[in-house]
C-alpha cells in the first residue's frame, strides 16, 4: 500500500471517528407540560417518552402544577435552559407567559415546538421567539365536533357550556367552536349558561348543580374537557338527572370508562398521547435538519361514543391512553 493511500485511509478513519463521535452524542429533548394531575398531560408525557425511544433521543419531562398560573412554569423553563437541552417541546399555560424564556432558547438556536396550540405564531415572533411548529388538534374543531354530536342526539332544549380556565387559548377556542357550530346544526338548542369549571371536576360539579337548580329542565351539557365532564356526570347523577346528555373533550381513560358505562355520552378524543409522541419525534427531526410543513401539524380528532368503543375497529383507538 502506498504511503499516500495509507495517509488517505488514516485521514478518512479519523474523519469517520470524529463525525461518529459527534453523532454518537444523543440529543436531549426537554418537554415542559402543565397541570401534572390531569391524565391528559400524563398521556402526553407517556407519548413523549415513547417518541424519544423511537427517535433515538434522550428526553426529560417536567410539569408545572397549575394550568392557570404561568409564573412557576416560567421558572421551570428557565431552569431547563440551565442544563443540556437541545430542543424544547412546550405546552404553555398561556400564549405570552413563557415568551421571555423561549426568546432565550431561540437566541441559543434551540428549536421550539408548541403542543396543544398554546402559542400564537405572530405574538411569539414579535417577542423574538421562533416556534418551529405547532402540534395539536384544532380546539375550535373539537368544540364544533362536540356540537355536531350533541345535535345528533338532541335537537331542542337548554344547554350548559362548561368552559376551561379563563384566559387560556384552549378554553377560548373550544368554547368558541361549540358556540359557533351549535346554532348551525341544532337551532333549537340554546345555551342558558356558559361558566368556567377551571378544567376541574369539583368546580364543574358545583357549577352543574347550581345551573340544574336554576334550570330543572336542562337537557344537555358540553364540557370543554373530560375532567369537567366527569364532574358534571357526578352532579347530574346525584341530582337524579342521569338522562342528561353530556359531551366532553379529551378522551382520557376515565372518560372512556364513563362512556362504556353509559354515563358520559361522548368525548371528542384529542389523543394527547400523540401530542407527546409527535412532539418529540418532530423535535428529533428538526435536530437532524429536517423541516416540517405546514407550521401547524394537525393531530386528528376521534369522537368516542359507546358505539365506536364497542366496535373497536377505529385505527386511532390504539392512541387513546
Amino acid at each position: 500500500m502506498t504511503a499516500c493511500l495509507r495517509r488517505g485511509m488514516l485521514a478518512a478513519l479519523l474523519l469517520g471517528t470524529l463525525s461518529t463521535a459527534a453523532w454518537a452524542q444523543p440529543k436531549t429533548v426537554g418537554v415542559l407540560l402543565k397541570n401534572v394531575s390531569n391524565p391528559f398531560w400524563d398521556a402526553a408525557a407517556q407519548g413523549a417518552k415513547d417518541g424519544a425511544k423511537a427517535a433515538g433521543v434522550n428526553v426529560y419531562v417536567l410539569s408545572s402544577q397549575s394550568d392557570a398560573d404561568v409564573g412557576p412554569q416560567l421558572d421551570i423553563c428557565n431552569t431547563m435552559l440551565e442544563r443540556k437541552t437541545d430542543a424544547l417541546v412546550v405546552a404553555a399555560v398561556n400564549p405570552t407567559g413563557l415568551l421571555p424564556c423561549l426568546a432565550q432558547a431561540t437566541k441559543r438556536g434551540i428549536p421550539i415546538l408548541d403542543i396543544d396550540s398554546n402559542l400564537v405564531q405572530d405574538i411569539a415572533e414579535k417577542a423574538g421567539v421562533n416556534v418551529a411548529n405547532s402540534i395539536g388538534s384544532d380546539n375550535r374543531q373539537a368544540g364544533a365536533q362536540g356540537a355536531k354530536y350533541m345535535a345528533g342526539k338532541i335537537q331542542k332544549g337548554k344547554v350548559l357550556l362548561l368552559e376551561g380556565a379563563p384566559g387560556t387559548l384552549t378554553a377560548i377556542d373550544r368554547a368558541a367552536g361549540f358556540k359557533d357550530e351549535l346554532p348551525k346544526v341544532a337551532p333549537g338548542l340554546h345555551i342558558v349558561a356558559s361558566l368556567t369549571g377551571n378544567w376541574e371536576r369539583d368546580k364543574a360539579a358545583n357549577v352543574t348543580n347550581d345551573v340544574l337548580t336554576a334550570n330543572p329542565d336542562l337537557a344537555a351539557i358540553f364540557a370543554s374537557n373530560d375532567q369537567m365532564g366527569l364532574g358534571a356526570v357526578e352532579a347530574a347523577r346525584a341530582a337524579g338527572r342521569s338522562d342528561l346528555i353530556i359531551v366532553s373533550v379529551d378522551g382520557i381513560p376515565d372518560a372512556v370508562a364513563a362512556i362504556k358505562e353509559g354515563r358520559l355520552a361522548a368525548s371528542v378524543a384529542q389523543l394527547p398521547y400523540l401530542f407527546g409522541y409527535r412532539g418529540v419525534e418532530t423535535a428529533a427531526g428538526l435536530l437532524a435538519g429536517k423541516t416540517y410543513h405546514p407550521w401547524k401539524l394537525v393531530i386528528p380528532l376521534v369522537v368516542l361514543d359507546k358505539a365506536v368503543l364497542e366496535k373497536g375497529t377505529d385505527p386511532m383507538l390504539k392512541y387513546v391512553r
Binding site: V36, Y60, V61, L62, S63, S64, Q65, S66, A68, D69, V70, G71, L74, D75, I76, N78, T79, M80, E82, R83, K84, N94, P95, T96, G97, L99, P100, I123, A127, A165, P166, G167
Partner: protein, 325 residues
C-alpha cells in the same frame, strides 16, 4: 393604695431581635452541597443567578410577611394583592395610554391601599387578621379577574419589562430588588422605631399599649406596608411575564409565610430576622431549582418543602428547650 398594684402581672419577655436560625443556614449550605453533587449544572454562576431570579418575587413577599408575622398577625392576601395591583397598574397603559411611570405609581399605590383596607378591618373591625386577609384573598383575586376581563393584559412598556427581565452587569434586576428590599427591611426591623414597635406589639400587645404605643395605628401601617410590598412584587412579576396576569400569584402567600418561618421568624410574634427570611426563601428556591434540574416530579418538591418547614421549626424547639433546661 400602691400604684404598682394595677400594673399587669404578666412578665414581659425580652425581645430577641436579630434571631437568625443558624440551623437554616446550615440546611441551606447542606442543600447546595447535595445539589451540586447530584447535578453538574447546579453550581454554575448562571444557575445561581437563575435561582435568585426565581426566588425574588416570593422572597420580596416573604420580607413583607416577616413584618406582619413579627407583629403576631398574618397576611394571607399577598398573593392576590400581587395580582390585583399589577392589573390596576397595567390598566394605566391598556387601555388608558398614560405614561409608563403611572404604572409603577398605581401598582404600588393599589397594593398599599388594599393593605390599608386590611389594616382598618383588623383594627377598627376588631376582626382577626387571619379572617380579614383570608377574605381579602378572595376579594382581591376576584377583582383582579374582573378588572382584567378574565385574561392576562399583555405587552407592557419597555421600562416595566426591564424591571422583570433586565440585567445590570449580568445580575437580574428582580434579584437586585430582592436584595435591596432585604437590606432596607433588615435596617427597618432592627434599627428603627417602626421595627421595634412591630416586634413589641407582636411580643406583648398589652405591654405595648401600657407604654403609650398607638397599637391600632401601627398595625394598620404594617398591613399597608405588606400591601405595598405585594404591589412591588406584582410590578416585578408583571415585568417577568410582560403581562399583568390575574391568575398569577396563587398560593404565593403560603410560600412567603413558609420562607419567613423557616428563616426563624416566630409565628406567634416578637422575634424575626430578615436575613433568616432570605435564607428561608433561598432554601425553597434551591429545592425547586435542584429538583427541576434533576427532572424530579413536582410532587416530590412539595413534600420536600413541607418537610423542611417542619424540620426547621422542630430544630428551633429543640434549641429553645435546651436553653431553658
Amino acid at each position: 393604695m400602691s400604684q404598682n398594684a394595677t400594673v399587669a402581672t404578666r412578665p414581659v419577655k425580652i425581645i430577641r431581635v436579630g434571631t437568625l436560625r443558624y440551623e437554616s443556614l446550615a440546611v441551606l449550605i447542606l442543600l447546595c452541597a447535595a445539589m451540586s453533587f447530584l447535578s453538574p449544572y447546579f453550581l454554575g454562576l448562571h444557575n445561581i443567578l437563575n435561582i435568585f431570579l426565581a426566588t425574588s418575587v416570593i422572597g420580596i413577599l416573604a420580607i413583607g410577611s416577616t413584618f406582619v408575622i413579627c407583629m403576631a398577625a398574618i397576611d394571607l392576601s399577598v398573593g392576590s394583592l400581587l395580582a390585583v395591583s399589577a392589573v390596576c397598574g397595567a390598566l394605566m397603559v391598556k387601555p388608558l395610554h398614560l405614561p409608563w411611570p403611572m404604572v409603577i405609581v398605581v401598582t404600588l399605590a393599589a397594593g398599599g391601599l388594599f393593605g390599608l383596607a386590611n389594616g382598618f378591618l383588623v383594627t377598627h373591625g376588631r376582626i382577626p387578621s387571619f379572617i380579614v386577609t383570608l377574605g381579602m384573598l378572595g376579594i382581591a383575586r376576584g377583582l383582579a379577574f374582573i378588572l382584567a376581563g378574565g385574561r392576562a393584559i399583555y405587552d407592557m412598556p419597555a421600562p416595566i419589562v426591564w424591571l422583570g427581565q433586565g440585567r445590570v452587569l449580568g445580575v437580574p434586576v428582580p434579584m437586585i430588588a430582592f436584595l435591596a428590599v432585604a437590606v432596607i427591611g433588615h435596617f427597618v426591623l432592627q434599627h428603627t422605631r417602626f421595627g421595634k414597635y412591630t416586634l413589641v406589639v407582636g411580643d406583648n400587645v398589652m405591654a405595648a399599649r401600657v407604654t403609650g404605643l398607638r397599637v391600632g395605628r401601627h398595625v394598620t401601617k404594617v398591613f399597608a406596608l405588606s400591601g405595598a410590598i405585594a404591589g412591588l412584587a406584582g410590578l416585578l412579576q408583571m415585568g417577568r411575564l410582560n403581562a399583568a396576569d390575574p391568575a398569577t400569584g396563587i398560593f404565593f402567600e403560603l410560600n412567603a409565610i413558609t420562607a419567613a418561618i423557616i428563616g426563624g421568624t416566630n409565628l406567634f410574634g416578637g422575634e424575626g430576622s430578615i436575613l433568616g427570611t432570605v435564607i428561608g426563601a433561598l432554601i425553597m428556591g434551591v429545592i425547586l431549582n435542584g429538583l427541576n434540574l434533576l427532572a424530579v416530579q413536582a410532587f416530590y418538591q412539595q413534600v420536600a418543602i413541607g418537610a423542611v418547614l417542619i424540620i426547621a421549626v422542630w430544630l428551633d424547639r429543640l434549641r429553645a428547650g435546651a436553653q431553658e433546661a
